[in-house]
Structure formats: structure tokens, C-alpha cells
């Protein structure tokens, strides 16, 4: 039977199929961070197990790290405790550890690809739902719980039923000012926050083929926000060029051997999907969310829909708008904002900072806006400086912070205060996600930049030069 890209990678990692149960899936690469791993190590110890393949696990600190004065001791004792536990566990079991201040440190889903740990055809897991990011390279990558982190540490396997398969095709050319983030928010608005639950998604068509690796990572990153376990894109010349010669990428004869395998990673013509959707690139405009889940998104020039036009319960919809302090049929453009957050595993890469700078260059941050610009890794910081983007940022009245997950989930001090409205390039607009009582509008780095200089929700197309 003809196979999909997903079938090829999944099937080649099945150690055994359990009768009337899940598959035992072998994991090639395992990322761990300070928040979801300590209890897994405790479990490992309590069972007197050890880490079976320490060279396949990679630790980095990101979720609760400060993004300011990283050279000083971490002030929050609970965060410091988790960071210490990660360092101690990594040292005890011989796991690579990029702690705070290490030059390879950064957000796990940014440093993995940067260092060539993420490879096509690999199975990759991490105790973080945005592990789906790595699917941009043609890997099967998804988030797991802490019990499964312990499973991978002690056996290099997890037990999962094979998900169903979905393909999302988008053909044509994206319009002016429309970015990969808009493509993802558009897909999620169509699928809703649960439309792809139970599925693994393959993205196909011109739009994804034309995208940079950074853009593909943004799209795959957000797969979880429509319920999908993960999303992937077939590797191509762009993929191979990105990973070649990175720190952990195979070299020499190993590279040639790997390439032979990677070139087989595509969906065969006759292969079948359990569900398939096709959208048109020209229907997508810069997007923004207005509610409390990422499926509640609209084109930035549109108004908030009426409850009776929404698929789902009216009670839930009304509760959501009440939290946001919005009304049905409100226009999004022109809403006064308080914060802008550029960063996260969704939009914390060099391309995102380039996009942001393309708008703020020669302009000034609005006085009513507090902006947090948080690069995804030290390598991103280096490149920002190399390209002189830091000068543009500074001149426009912004400050560049140090790498970490930051205000995306507000586990550190970067919390949006209660009631404040933020345009954020991150991935979740859930109630309180960016701090108790915070209100989040998800958007692209271009929309964030335009809104940061105008002080209100703004259409970037008015400020972009062709």
C-alpha cells in the first residue's frame, strides 16, 4: 500500500505492536527542560532505573528562566530549584546540558534545529506540546507528559496508538504582508481548536514549499493549537541546506548515507489520508485573535463574529468575549493596546526579528506600549547583532532582552498585568496565559510591530514598503 510521509517515519520506528493496544515507538531524540523533567527523574530513581541512552537526550533551560540579568543568580527560589535539578540530573546521568548562560542555551524548539539535533525522518519528543515545531524538517515530533519523559529516559520508547492522518494543502502565492504565522492562524480558525484532534497533519502545496525553514517551523509549531498531535512537511533541498554542517548533523559518509534515506521521505501519489483540506493562499490576510483560544482568529480588517455564526456553545463564546472585554461585532483595528511581546518558540527566530525591524525601522515605539522583545536563543541574539538589527531596535525605542520562553507562559517575571491587552507573537491566548488576568491577541511579528509603533491594533500593510 502506498505510504504517506508520516507512515514511512512512524512505521520505521515501531519496535512492536501491542495486541489491542498502542505501538511501542522508538524515540531518536529527546529534549528535556527544567519544568516537566524533575518528577520523571524522581520516578526513574524510585524504580532504580537508569537513563538507557543518555546521548539521545538533550537538556536546555528555558521555561522559567529570567530574560534580564541572566548572569546573576536566579532570584525566584522555586525556579532556581528547578534549574538546579535539571543541571544535577543531567550531570548524574551524563546528559548534554545547556543551562542558563551557556552559549547554546535558548528555547528548546529553537536550539534543537539550530544545533542539528533535529533531523528528517527522526522521532522527537519533549515534555512540551510545541515539540511539533520539529516536524518542519520531516520528523515526527510531538509533546508528551512527564510519565512519558520517564519512559523515554529509562527505555527510549513510548507507547502510543498510531494517530490518524490529515493533509492540509494550500496552493498559490501569499499576499503582501501575509506571513507563516497568519497561515497557521488561518488554518486553526478554520479547523477550530479541536478540529485536528486525533490526527497527525502533513502540510503540502506551494505555500509550504515556498516557505523558509523558519516559516515552516512556525506553522508546524502551531499544529497542536488545532488539537493535532503534530504536523510535518516533507524535507527538500531547503531542509538539507539548513541542517548541513550543524553541530550534531551527520558528517561525511554518514551524511551521504542519511541523505539516501531522507530523499525517500515524501508522500507517495496513491497514499491515502483519513482527512484532507485544501485552502487558497489568496484568501489569507494578516490574522489576529479576539478570544481565549487560538481558533478564535479573524483577518485583521474583520469584526468579531456574532455568537450565532460560531460553531460551538454560545455560553462558552460569551464567557470568552467577556474575559477579553470585547463585544460581538467589534472591529479589531484601532483597539488600544498596552503590551507587545515578540518571541517564543513560535516566533522567536531571526526571521521574526527581521520582520519586526522591517516595520519599526525609522519609527518610534508608541508611548502607551510596553514591549518585550525576547530572542529564542543566544544564536539568534548573535545574528541580530551581526545584521545590525539591534541598532534599529534600540533607535526605535525598544530593548532587546535575553533568551527564554518569557511572557509566552509567564513562568518567570515577564507577566502581562491583569486586564492589560497584549499583541503577542506567541502561541496561546488562553485566560491568564501571559499572567493572571492578562488579555492576549495572537498575531504575526509584522502585526506586533505595526501595533507597537501605532499604539493600537494595526494593519502592517499600511506601514510596509513593497
Amino acid at each position: 500500500m502506498a505510504k504517506t510521509l508520516f507512515d514511512k517515519v512512524w512505521d520505521s520506528h515501531v519496535v512492536r505492536q501491542v495486541e489491542d493496544g498502542p505501538d511501542v515507538l522508538f524515540i531518536d531524540r529527546h529534549f528535556i527542560h527544567e519544568v516537566t523533567s524533575p518528577v520523571a527523574f524522581l520516578g526513574l530513581k524510585s524504580r532504580s532505573n537508569t537513563v538507557i541512552y543518555p546521548e539521545k537526550t538533550f537538556a536546555t533551560a528555558d521555561h522559567n528562566t529570567p530574560t534580564w540579568n541572566q548572569h546573576l543568580p536566579v532570584a525566584d527560589p522555586l525556579s532556581a530549584n528547578q534549574l538546579e535539578a535539571l543541571a544535577d540530573n543531567a550531570a548524574e546521568y551524563g546528559i548534554s546540558h545547556w543551562g542558563l548562560g551557556h552559549r547554546n542555551n535558548g528555547i528548546v524548539h529553537i536550539v534543537g534545529p539550530e544545533n542539528g539535533i533535529t533531523l528528517p525522518g527522526a522521532t522527537i519528543v519533549c515534555g512540551d506540546s510545541h515539540t511539533s515545531t520539529h516536524g518542519a524538517f520531516g520528523a515526527i515530533a510531538f509533546g508528551i507528559g512527564t510519565s512519558e519523559v520517564e519512559m523515554v529516559l529509562s527505555t527510549q520508547c513510548i507507547m502510543q496508538p498510531k494517530p490518524k492522518k490529515m493533509r492540509i494543502n494550500i496552493n498559490g502565492k501569499l499576499g503582501f504582508g501575509v506571513t507563516p504565522k497568519d497561515v497557521a492562524l488561518y488554518i486553526i480558525s478554520k479547523q477550530t481548536t479541536s478540529g485536528a484532534t486525533g490526527y497527525f497533519v502533513e502540510y503540502a502545496g506551494d505555500v509550504f514549499e515556498d516557505m523558509t525553514m523558519e516559516g515552516r517551523m512556525t506553522v508546524c509549531n502551531l499544529s497542536i493549537e488545532m488539537g493535532a498531535r503534530g504536523g510535518m512537511i516533507a524535507p527538500d533541498a531547503k531542509t538539507f541546506e539548513y541542517i548541513k554542517d550543524r553541530k550534531h548533523t551527520p558528517k561525511g559518509a554518514d551524511w551521504d548515507k542519511a541523505m539516501q534515506y531522507w530523499e525517500t521521505l515524501y508522500t507517495e501519489e496513491e497514499a491515502e489520508f483519513d482527512a484532507e483540506f485544501t485552502y487558497d493562499a489568496t484568501d489569507i490576510e494578516p490574522m489576529i485573535t479576539y478570544g481565549t483560544n487560538p481558533g478564535m482568529g479573524i483577518g485583521i480588517t474583520k469584526s468579531i463574529p456574532l455568537a450565532d455564526t460560531i460553531d460551538g456553545g454560545e455560553e462558552t463564546y460569551v464567557k470568552s468575549l467577556k474575559y477579553m472585554k470585547f463585544d460581538q461585532q467589534d472591529a479589531m483595528l484601532g483597539k488600544q493596546i498596552d503590551y507587545v511581546f515578540l518571541g517564543s518558540c513560535t516566533n522567536g527566530r531571526i526571521e521574526d526579528f527581521r520582520a519586526f525591524c522591517s516595520i519599526v525601522k525609522g519609527r518610534k515605539k508608541a508611548d502607551n506600549v510596553t514591549a518585550w522583545l525576547v530572542p529564542g536563543s543566544h544564536k539568534v541574539v548573535d545574528q541580530i547583532k551581526e545584521e545590525g538589527l539591534d541598532k534599529i531596535i534600540e533607535k526605535a525605542g525598544f530593548i532587546l532582552r535575553e533568551p527564554g520562553c518569557s511572557a509566552c507562559l509567564a513562568m518567570n517575571d515577564d507577566k502581562i498585568p491583569a486586564g492589560k491587552l497584549s499583541v503577542s507573537t506567541s502561541n496561546r491566548n488562553f485566560e491568564g496565559r501571559q499572567g493572571p488576568g492578562s488579555r492576549t491577541l495572537l498575531a504575526s511579528p509584522l502585526v506586533a510591530a505595526a501595533s507597537a509603533v501605532e499604539g493600537v491594533v494595526s494593519d502592517p500593510r499600511a506601514l510596509l514598503t513593497v
Binding site: 519496535v15 516537566t36 524522581l42 530549584n81 535539578a85 509533546g143 507528559g145
Partner: protein
Amino acid sequence: MAYDKFEVLTSSAYPLPIENVDTDQIIPARFLKATERKGFGDNFFRDWRYEADGTPKADFPLNKEIYAGGKILVGGKNFGSGSSREHAAWSVYDFGLRCVISSFFADIFRNNCLNVGVLPVQVSAAFSDKLFDAIMADPKTEIKVDLPNQTVTLVATGAFEKFEINGYKKENMLNGFDDIDYLKNIEGEITTFAENRPF
């Protein structure tokens, strides 16, 4: 992590008829800073249960005396979406619940529940409505969740529905086993497999 066996559970239930309840609501990120697995029940639905100053919100179902002691939560559609934090499933368990019933679950949350001894029971939208109606009519309504027979029953009327669970996970729940027990027993098979991986 060891958990108590699950066979048949008969209990009243807390109703939470909200859709798309995400794991950031079940346990907000600021409570994920522990390095041990304990005390997560206190912060279960923290920001929906308490005002910022710590005063309980009287109208939130988990705070209502009439539901107290229930071991089941009946949630709205798409329960447990978002973050993969297993802390959400721990907080369900630590709050004293052993079963969540919904017409639809997010994948990772469902998996996490099964791994920590909380039974996720997916029912039809119609049966979910029936459960909510019964609880609204009588807050002490008893619901029987029978894992061996894979049924969920409204005790007063006898109305019931079958639910799905794969045979492997069912055996685990019935016996308090987990996946690591299974995987350690096939370690030889795993190491042989590993030797043949290209990278």
C-alpha cells in the same frame, strides 16, 4: 508513579459545562515549579476557583458544597486542550477525582490521565447532555463508571452508555500497572532495535 487500581466507581459528580477547557485553566503555569509530585490539588482550576486575593468564588462548581465529595468531573467538549503539562492530570487526581467524563478529549491530556490513574471516559454529546441535566436536577446524582464492562450509568434511571478503551490500557488501569513496567520487560527487543537505527 504508582496509582490505585480502578474497577468500578460510583459517585456524585462535579459539573463543568464549559467547552475547550485548556490545561492552563486546570493548573496555571505559575504552579508548575515543584520538583516533586505533591500538592497539585490545591491549585486545581486555581484562577476559576479563587479571586486574586485567595477568596473562593462561591458560584464555581468545584467550590459548591452540594457537589463536595464527588470523585467524577463531567466536563464540556474538548476537555484538556493546550499544554502537555501532566501536572493537569496530577491536579485532577490530587483533588480527589478518579474519572473525567466529556464528549471529547484533547489527546495529550487523555494520555496523561491514563498514565496517572485517572480514567478519561468519552461519551456521546447526547449522553453528556443527559449527565449535565441529571446533575442540575439533583446535585447528588450518582454516576456509576464500570471499567470491566466499559459502561457509564446514571444510577437513578439506569440510562447507560458504553465507552471505548483499548484492552492494554484497560488492563493497566484495572491492575494499577503502567507502561514502564511493560517496556522494561521488552528491553532486549528495544536495544536490538536501537542498534539498527541510522542515527
